[in-house]
Symmetry: C2
Subunit: 96 residues, 2 copies
Amino acid sequence: MNIEQQAIDDKLATIFKVLSDPHRISILRILHENGHEMTCGEVGEQLNLAKSTVSYHFKALRKAGLTNTRKVGQTKMLSINETTFEQYLPHFFDVS
Amino acid sequence: MNIEQQAIDDKLATIFKVLSDPHRISILRILHENGHEMTCGEVGEQLNLAKSTVSYHFKALRKAGLTNTRKVGQTKMLSINETTFEQYLPHFFDVS
DNA sequence: ATATTAGTTCGATAATTATCGAACTAATTG
DNA sequence: CAATTAGTTCGATAATTATCGAACTAATAT
């Protein structure tokens, strides 16, 4: 295994770690199906978790580069980071 | 989110949990690049881990349906479970 | 200026996990 | 049969993780 491949696999492993929680997959699907930015609150509403827990998951998604965050006043808008999905998880949202 | 999608996402989450360890991704790549069945020992040799640890990872991969196992005498032959990859991880091995 | 709202951070906790060496089973070889 | 080999299982351990409620910050509304 060459060194670049190892770097990719480490990146993949961190992405997969983030995806290893069903709640986080749900968040991504909610975002994807919605088709445009959503506030943290809107997404979190559907998950039935403490808001601190939701915040924890959001941070994990953002840190792994799976979502974009944009602050608008008091709220934060979340969206899918298409670039990361295209590069590392092509066809992720096609699986059904 | 409908109930079938939830079932798929739970399955995906368990697959991703297995893939969240760099060693297990390595195992899969070794198998894929080799192109045909390998013994546990052959794969494990390249990982520099205790054989009990390797066995632990193999079991996780098998349990998630990512590999096939075939016992031949004293040894076990591992191979990629193409069906699972086609269904849940299309283009996984193309990422580079 | 006070109260509300959106989200983050903190401390605690229970559960899961990756790893090892040792002991084991089953198959093969001498 | 005895020794070796391939792989599994077990017990222990250290590290990570998902979750909560409480306290916090920053922005908005009354």
